[in-house]
Symmetry: C2
Subunit: 349 residues, 2 copies
């Protein structure tokens, strides 16, 4: 038994997620420096996901040591929740723009995407997770998904399962996803595979809960190497919370329909359609969707056409009920209650 | 004595600020409709200051009644604190963009500025405020300033004071200001007049406190027709709080230098200069400056080159000390402590 499997749940030692392991990540500073030189750039913008913002200053230090003195390095202070969420305002000020920690949703010459792969050993917890699956002789089919952070080990994960007698089903999903087997918080098309049981390898419950909500017919096993825990994704609480929001919204007389100006979260046509069909609905535009921004409008309920996870996960933080576009149709009586489904986000921009 | 002067302080009746008086404001819907027709536009973006956002849906209703069915009306959900703070992301989605409640900081064909003038009677409280001034025979010079909201009565205010024997001193200030006698939260150049006593006519203490901080040599009398109160602007508490922030920041080892991407709040060169001269300073870019956005960086202190009122008024809401660029120079020992002054914002964009 390896050292890692002896860790208790939540123990971040040797997971690659502990702060003292920061510098083990490869920020690809050479690639950035080369781009600055090639383009004769005077300004570099760096964008990190929320959980890695704290590394920003140290990465900026390393870059400044390499780059000519007249190059300004800027760090995005905007929240960042995915490759859908590029800081387009900083991009406008940056001759070289670097987005860390997410895989490209849409390739662009202007943007350098630097993936940040976790160095955590995923196999001890995968071994432990096998107890949750049918024996290969009963059901040999397993669907396998993971996040961008562990993508570098995807083929090894597949082999690990195959060596234990399973047939591993994977697919790339749609154009929103970069890699075979990759899931996003808003898109689980890579789980549309011929298997009733799914293995999700990755940290936290955010992704597997979305997966369970999007694929209620599948059993979703979580092998979480970061928190060193095996679990089953159970979306029941999330689904009950959604029904609650729909019921509360049924009393609404006035609606705010939210369109986000974030580059990869815009569904303007969907928002426009709702407003066109409902005289008591108003189209509200904003970048980050926060409770404070809605309070001032004083409307009864909201429909969020931006990131679906704001609605499903953060919904309870908002004073008024907030629905996905599909949930709105249920609340308006246009669709039956049992048509509730996960608000998948397709396409890029 | 008029009815208004009998109101108690804080009584909003008949001030034009009470919610039930909303529709007394002239939103210039005809001008907007004409622009939509002229440009054959399909999209209209509306932006209201924070305090008037709640009127947005009703104004959208009125517009939708007039405009062709295929025109989409959008409301900015971003916070808005001045004419410096145009929602440029909504502008990009709007063929006609309307900014309500502030006077133009910079004219543009793309933007329709609709001033919203208060219908409150300013003269009863001006009458009451006279008790705070020297008799005209002792000191006949009064400087007069007000906000965009009361600009339509500026000439009457001047006459009111002149009829009572005063010489009224006014000026337009610099290019950031649209009107003679107008003040902004960040700019009191209109108060650079030959008078030791100033009359500020307008609601709240936000503007007169800035005025008192920028012109500590002048006595600033507040005639507040909205809250029906006369007061003297005292910036002492604000100044003490600033000294406190400077002292706390002196222990900082690492600095975040904030550059705001808001169209009228950008001082990139100033921010760049600080970062160039200090190896422990990092340039952070963001639109709205909020405590949450800074927390993730884990730096010791911040310098805000965006709206100075975020620093002076909201500073205490931030966990780490936040300084104006001038205060930063004091904290770094580059300038003496008594050089503390208001962080005036000049120019447009």
């Amino acid at each position: 038994m390896s050292q890692e499997s002896e860790r208790s749940p939540g123990d971040l030692t040797a997971t690659g997620m502990a702060l003292r392991h920061d510098r083990e990540w490869d920020y690809e500073l050479d690639r950035i420096s080369e781009a600055v030189e090639e383009r004769n750039a005077n300004s570099v913008g760096l964008q990190f996901p929320e959980g890695l913002k704290r590394r920003g200053p140290a990465v900026a230090d390393d870059l400044r040591r390499t780059l000519p003195d007249d190059v300004t390095v800027m760090l995005s202070g905007e929240p960042c929740y995915g490759a859908c969420d590029l800081d387009t305002e900083l991009m406008r000020h940056s001759e070289v723009f670097v987005h860390f920690g997410h895989s490209p949703m849409n390739e662009s010459e202007q943007i350098i995407y630097v993936p940040l792969f976790s160095n955590v050993d995923v196999f001890p917890i995968m071994e432990e997770s096998l107890a949750e699956f049918e024996d290969p002789e009963e059901d040999e089919d397993i669907g396998l998904v993971t996040t961008a952070q562990h993508m570098n080990k995807f083929e090894e994960m597949r082999e690990f399962l195959e060596e234990r007698g399973y047939t591993v089903h994977t697919r790339r999903g749609d154009e929103r996803l970069t890699h075979e087997g990759q899931v996003l918080g808003c898109n689980y098309a890579s789980a549309d595979v011929e298997a009733d049981q799914m293995l999700y390898v990755g940290g936290g419950k955010f992704h597997p809960l979305g997966l369970a909500m999007d694929h209620p017919e599948k059993r979703v096993v979580i092998a979480d190497p970061v928190n060193n825990v095996v679990d089953i994704a159970d979306a029941d609480a999330l689904i009950k919370q959604r029904y609650g929001a729909i019921h509360r919204a049924m009393d609404a007389e006035t609606w705010g329909i939210i369109y986000s100006t974030k580059i990869g979260q815009g569904r303007l046509e969907r928002a426009r359609q709702i407003v066109e069909d409902n005289d008591d609905a108003y189209l509200l535009t904003m970048n980050n969707v926060t409770p404070q921004k809605l309070t001032n409008f004083g409307l009864d309920a909201y429909v969020n056409t931006a990131c679906p996870r704001i609605t499903t996960d953060d919904g309870p933080q908002f004073k008024q009920p907030m629905l996905t576009p599909g949930e709105y149709e249920i609340a308006m009586g246009e669709k039956p209650m049992d048509s509730l489904s996960f608000d998948t986000f397709h396409g890029t921009w």
